[in-house]
């Protein structure tokens, strides 16, 4: 049999993932956290590889190449150089990082050979080139400039260059420890949220504040030039030699204490979030404008973890002057698996793949027979539906919270209608109820709506087509019940500031997902049925998980999450379950048990 499979792997930093492609298309992209149930799992993706073998008929002998998403020895060089620079300080940091560095950076090929048998080549694509490939090749542009911003790759934390179908050329970079991603993470830490996962909370907090600290940050903490390049004042950071992101020097400068996670969020932290968000936006827009002028390109592609900042993304699209912008939905490290595999396929093997992104539905899928077997085995009471979309729309319109498990799983951090919890956006209590009873997370955070693409202009300004929930849109005035951006009031959403209050932020922005028939016919039908009942062409869409857990991957995960929350109903495949009818031993279906599987 012809050896035509390529596997991309990202591992050992955060968000390990694998991607399987053949000569024609992307077969699957899987994130290890979804199977291991450890959020942002960074271990070698053994479970994902096994799923490729079991569900996607991968035979190790068909693999022609394995591609690692970065150059491990270059990364080791950066880590060792950092240790030299900070010595004799950083003993704790060195104690943790030296063994990890030696084990995980030197022996990458051994890890690969140990877990994947067969005769194949191993490639190492530079970290930011992997990100660039993951953004450019699915974009279907003929040529584009790329802009990558993340915590850090091997050395680069920001970079830009040019992509075409001959090559990807990285021409300029900003090197570690200067990093917009790490700057944002430092303020995430300062505001009491978890680094590498709480950044979106900081972004969600920002609209509640005023950018009162912006001048202090720009004067003392980060210096940027007219071309968008920047440098951090490391005096205020600890991340390069300690386990904390920042410490007392930052507290002294800001005249504010680092918030403990259990403490209340006060207005000062909202102001700080607003300030750092504003700084990041300003620098990114400056950088994008410079890249357009320097490269002369009309198209821009973006990747790296910072490209998940949807507020900044919208401003870049509006203000940078690029005609077209594509952002890789899995722009964090998980996307590196896709990018590295695509790079080798496209530029080394010269294969032009089609339908690469597939609206990010690149994960696992479970059929009705498999689901029924699990339901029967678990002793669940359920009902078979003829029209799941219609029933879902009816339940949501009656004010119920619904778990929705259908089709192939999403690749990337966003639930896009396959593994989602859905609700009615008109209900002002829905946001609070879903946050506190279902998601167990901070009540200030609004939800994102899924809106029918052909109705988006009725509610939001601008010409939006955002199937990946990567930008924000502004609610049209006719749907607003208040006139001004409301700050310093964390209960603003229960005040009903709009006719769809559960999905509108304090500044009337919303992180929308447009849904078309082509993208997801069943999900589109659901929203359309909801529109026919209520007149509103959008619903709340939040990821099917609880705080601290990855998004559910299989029916068992979905059932466990369903039983451990106050979700009213679950539609899984063609089956409907009522939460209050389930007479199963709930001890067996604890969320903690999933990790042991």
């Amino acid at each position: 049999m012809k050896k035509n499979k390529i596997i991309g792997i990202s591992a050992f930093y955060h968000d390990s993932a694998v991607c399987l492609i053949n000569d024609k298309t992307v077969i699957a992209c899987l994130q290890e956290e979804r199977f291991s149930r450890k959020k942002h799992d960074n271990s070698f993706p053994i479970k994902s590889l096994n799923i490729l073998r079991e569900q996607f008929a991968l035979n190790d002998n068909d693999i022609s190449a394995i591609v690692f998403y970065e150059k491990p020895i270059l990364k080791m060089e950066r880590i060792l150089s950092n240790l030299i620079e900070i010595s004799p300080k950083g003993m704790e940091f060195a104690f943790k990082s030296i063994p990890l560095t030696v084990n995980r950076k030197i022996f990458v090929s051994e890890y690969i050979r140990k877990h994947i048998k067969g005769d194949y080549s191993i490639y190492y694509v530079p970290h930011h080139i992997s990100h660039a490939a993951s953004a450019f090749l699915p974009s279907e542009f003929e040529e584009a400039a790329f802009m990558i911003n993340d915590g850090v790759g091997e050395w680069e934390s920001s970079s830009y260059g040019i992509c075409n179908h001959e090559n990807i050329t990285l021409t300029h970079g900003v090197h570690y420890p200067h990093s917009l991603g790490l700057l944002y993470s430092a303020f995430t830490y300062f505001c009491g949220f978890r680094v590498n996962s709480g950044e979106y909370k900081l972004m969600g907090l920002a609209p509640y504040g005023k950018p009162k600290y912006k001048d202090i940050i720009l004067k003392n903490i980060i210096d940027y030039k007219e071309d968008g390049s920047y440098r951090l004042n490391l005096k205020y950071f600890d991340f390069h030699y300690g386990s904390r992101m920042c410490g007392k020097s930052m507290e002294k400068l800001l005249k504010l204490k680092i918030r403990k996670p259990e403490n209340d969020i006060t207005n000062e932290y909202a102001d700080l979030a607003s300030s750092v968000q504003s700084v990041i936006e300003e620098i990114l827009i400056t950088m994008a404008i410079h890249i357009r002028k320097d490269t002369g390109m009309k198209n821009l592609v973006m990747g790296g973890g910072v490209a998940l900042n949807c507020t900044a993304n919208s401003k870049i699209i509006e203000q940078s002057g690029f005609e077209n912008v594509f952002i890789q939905p899995a722009s964090g490290d998980a996307g590196g698996a896709l990018g590295s595999a695509l790079y080798v396929s496209h530029y080394v093997n010269k294969k032009k793949l089609s339908k690469i992104q597939q609206f990010s539905y690149l994960g696992t899928e479970y059929g009705n027979e498999q689901i029924k077997y699990i339901l029967d085995e678990g002793g669940f009471k359920y009902y078979k539906l003829d029209n799941p979309a219609l029933k879902a729309a009816q339940l949501i319109s009656q004010g119920n919270i619904l778990g929705w498990f259908q089709g192939r799983m999403e690749y990337g951090p966003r639930a896009l209608g396959s593994r989602s919890i859905l609700g009615d956006p008109r209900d002002k209590e829905m946001q609070r109820k879903m946050n506190l009873s279902i998601k167990f997370r901070e009540s200030f955070r609004p939800f994102a709506p899924s809106i029918m693409l052909d109705h988006v202009n009725e509610y939001f300004s601008g010409d939006y087509h955002t199937p990946y929930m990567l930008t924000v849109a502004s609610l049209k005035k006719k749907h607003r019940l208040k006139n001004q951006h409301i700050t310093h009031n964390f209960n603003v959403l229960s005040e009903k500031i709009a006719d769809i209050p559960a999905v509108i932020h304090a500044d009337f922005s919303s992180r929308i997902q447009t849904v078309s028939k082509e993208q997801n016919p069943l999900y589109y039908q659901l929203i359309d049925e909801f529109r026919k009942i209520t007149g509103v062409p959008l619903i709340i869409n939040t990821s099917f998980n609880v705080r601290g857990q990855p998004i559910v991957e299989n029916p068992k995960h979905a059932l466990t999450t369903f039983l451990n929350t106050k979700m009213d109903y679950l539609i899984i495949g063609d089956f409907l379950l009522f939460n209050n009818e389930q007479n199963v031993n709930r001890e067996k279906w604890k969320i903690e048990n999933l990790i042991m599987d």
Binding site: V67, F68, K71, P72, I73, L74, M76, E77, L80, S81, N82, L83, I84, E85, S87, P88, G90, M91, A94, F95, I98, P99, I106, F107, S121, Y123, Y124, V125, P126, I129, S159, G161, N167, I168, T169, L170, T171, H172, G173, V174, H175, Y176, P177, H178, D223, Y224, K225, E226, D227, S229, Y230, R231, L232, N233, L234, K235, H240, Y343, V344, V348
Partner: protein, 139 residues
């Protein structure tokens, strides 16, 4: 002569001796190879010194102690003493070797990472050469 050279299972003692040394070499070789790679690839005296120093330490400390111990015992000892060894190495490396390298680098006017905040220059970008890195190599 034959008894001196032959072990209980009939294999030549010299071969067993070589095999055991090869096991030790497995530990050291990656470091030596990397040091050479880095030396020729980057011509970076600091990294080279660091890796060479690490290799010498491993040879000096581990070799005499466990040179005659079979594979399983070797692994067990390494596991048991991993934390102690790591701590020891950390103190030696971070407390002694790295500061020496840092001082040498400062004498020659080179700094690795910590650069001056707000420099009077047009850009902080570092230009990359217009070539594709060799994706066959991990560096």
């Amino acid at each position: 002569m034959n008894r001196m050279l032959t072990g209980r299972n009939g294999k030549l003692k010299i071969l067993l001796w070589i095999k055991r040394r090869l096991n030790i070499l497995k530990l050291i070789m990656p470091l030596l190879i990397i040091s050479l790679i880095l030396f020729f690839k980057h011509n970076d005296v600091y990294i080279y010194t660091l890796i060479a120093g690490l290799s010498i330490m491993i040879v000096n400390i581990i070799f005499p102690v466990i040179g005659d111990i079979v594979d399983k015992i070797l692994i067990m000892i390494i596991n048991v003493f991993r934390i102690i060894i790591t701590l020891f190495f950390t103190i030696i490396i971070q407390g002694i070797i790295f500061p020496i390298i840092k001082i040498v680098s400062l004498i020659f006017g080179k700094r690795f990472l910590i650069l001056k905040f707000k420099e009077k220059k047009e850009t902080y970008y570092i230009n990359k050469p217009d070539i594709i890195d060799d994706i066959n190599e991990p560096y």
